[in-house]
Symmetry: C2
Subunit: 406 residues, 2 copies
């Protein structure tokens, strides 16, 4: 049989399990839960092997059989994916986790992991004939979706909080998106997007209200496994706002397991939140299945200031099913670890990425992480997109200065 | 014979041609000209083929036979290199160059091509036992060298103009460098570095005052050739400040030619400068061999505000030997093309990168570039490191806004 480019079969409601055709644009299942893409995994297993995948060009499209785009002509993008998996030997040793590694998402287009979701989400939207979409964002998702929408000729309306990183405004506007700043949080932006898209003339591309963004993000999990030689680490630590990254990694692991490309043991998944916005951690600690919204949230890690994540239920499932955990960290520690990682390793993490390092230190101190365990943290974006996160004071010298030398 | 990791043989003065041992740290040749690394290219040809290189991991270290680091234990870094070579179909068509491509250096560590020079320069410095270095920078080179110095445990002193992009200050300081801001230009910073390093206790890592940074940058040229299937484009267009990138690309092309991996025709190399700082363009137009310094220079493309480039002579040689040219562009056009490229292609170029697009349009208009020619421009860094380059005005809406919908 002729191998197919994608083995997508249909969509499935994440709560009730009912199936929907994937041939037309869709948002949520009829019960209001997110839809997940399903694949003919037997077909994938017959069509391709891990070894063949490893010889393909270094972009996330190397996993095309497990992605929803049907026609390779809709694969464009900017060379996204196969970001480095790097050792953090000095920092790891200092916090008692010598096998600490980072999956560094800074090199992606527009400087964050959001490019993965946008690359796949926008390509699939174009393939399904969508010409207008709208979305709320804390900044980086907007930057990424605006860039890909410009490439595919899709009109994008993007609503972001006034407090979102300033550079993300320019990125969205220059890419031709219709951008509005809202004097509120991403949840307020989401409400306005709901209103804008209610008539159906504009597609609602909000997190988990469209089914394909998570497919792009699952490639983080696939790359980690491939880069470790088709082997899983002991622990994966993820900064959680909307939660799609963690949900995507979990989905990847389950698909790889069903394919027989990894064994029966999964890594323990850790959801990290800021203590100023930790609805998932609260629900986890309370033993809840659903995540309740939180009021007056705030954190320097702006990307994870999501007071009511639609994917909260799926995050809790992933964490519990893998015997993982959820933990909140303080802004003070986040800022401290940005500096510590830069000084020890030469890498300037974004605040969200630094939150994972704080969590690893705490979980090692409590014994939850063992000394010999292999731990992968996600640095979800480029620290240099946050010029105001950490202040430095530097000496100034005159143009004709003469310095004392050694 | 056992293949070697590097086929470096020695260093050669770029003016007089005399040879120096590469086993100890060195700055300039005795006549004050830059030193270039030389290799046993016959040895390289016997040891490895382009096809073998193409199967190596996607970092610049895949060219290790042609890089100066002798011991693979000194290869660390952050997964740098093999940046995407992307088509710019819509912009290319609009300016009459349908085969327009960009080598996008934004994904590199610290967000610019400077990481290539730092990756190789710092690794080689560590291998040669250097423990302290100093350098002047317009910002991005400092960010890159500070990051790699942190990784290798080398103490760095970095002097940058007050006007350098603000984020680069934080990147240098957080990585533990000793940073000073000077109320002047990079040439003033260079003078102070010269004074700091005069005693020999601190190594002077200024552009072309150490011989290995250019070796890292030459990998841009190697990647372009490899990504085109070991074939050269018609034209390569480079934004020129210190000029090391263009010199490196030319050096790569000559080495690949001597290896027999490319044919006898080289791409025409174009040096692009801003009209507020264009000493190389002036020297080119005047038929000079040396580049005279310029006063009171200014441009929004801060990375190429280099009033007296030490490598000017080598840039002129490269441009003339390849039947290339040199051209200056206005700040106004640079800013215009940042917006145009973002809207057409979804890519936010840095100002220096956008300068190359302005040049391509002008050279196509004048007929110097033909319609069917394959033209590669270099986007030397991430546009999102320059939040103030382009201003956008955006509407603000209230938290409880109700919008008119379609």
């Amino acid at each position: 049989m002729q191998p197919k480019f994608s083995y997508l079969t249909d969509l499935q409601g994440s709560r009730g399990g009912e199936r929907y055709s994937s041939d037309v644009p869709r948002n949520l299942a009829s019960d209001g839960s997110p839809l997940f893409a399903r694949y003919d995994l037997d077909g994938v297993r017959s069509a391709v092997s891990p070894k063949e995948i490893s010889q393909r060009p270094p972009t996330l499209w190397r996993y095309h059989e497990l992605l929803p785009v049907q026609d390779p002509a809709f694969v464009r993008g900017f060379g996204e994916g196969m970001t480095p998996l790097l050792d953090l030997p000095r920092l790891g040793k200092a916090i008692g986790v010598p096998k600490l590694k980072v999956k560094d998402e800074a090199p992606l287009p527009t400087g964050s992991f959001k490019a993965r979701g946008a690359a796949v989400g926008v390509a699939r939207a174009a393939e399904l004939g969508i010409t207008k979409l709208a979305m709320p964002t804390n900044g980086n998702a907007g930057s990424a979706w605006a860039a890909y929408c410009a490439q595919y000729g899709i009109e994008a309306t993007i609503i972001m909080p006034l407090d979102a990183p300033a550079i993300t405004r320019s990125e969205c506007a220059l890419a031709g998106a219709d951008v509005m700043l809202i004097d509120g949080l991403i949840s307020d932006a989401g409400r306005v997007v709901g209103q804008l898209t209610a008539s159906g003339a504009v597609f609602d591309a909000s997190t988990l209200k469209e089914p394909y963004r998570v497919e792009g993000k699952k490639t983080m999990g696939m790359e980690i496994v491939e880069q470790l030689g088709w082997h899983v680490p002991d622990v994966i630590v993820y900064p959680t706002g909307g939660g799609v990254g963690l949900i995507g990694i979990y989905k990847a692991l389950l698909e790889l397991q069903e394919l027989g490309w990894i064994g029966s043991t999964l890594p323990r998944l850790v959801s990290v939140q800021a203590d100023g916005c930790d609805p998932i951690v609260r629900a986890f600690n309370a033993g809840e299945v659903e995540v309740a919204g939180q009021d007056d949230t705030h954190t320097v890690a702006f990307g994870i200031n999501v007071p009511k994540p639609l994917g909260g239920r799926a995050v809790l499932e992933a964490v519990r099913a893998t015997e993982g955990t959820a933990i909140s960290v303080s802004d003070r520690d986040i800022l401290r670890f940005i500096g510590r990682c830069a000084a020890d390793e030469g890498m300037m993490f974004c605040p969200e990425g630094a939150a994972t390092l704080v969590a690893v230190e705490a979980l090692r101190d409590s014994g939850w992480i063992g000394e010999g365990e292999e731990v992968v943290v996600l640095n979800t974006g480029a620290g240099n997109k946050y010029p105001d996160a950490v202040k430095v004071e530097l000496p100034t010298i005159a143009r004709d200065a003469v310095l004392d030398t050694v």
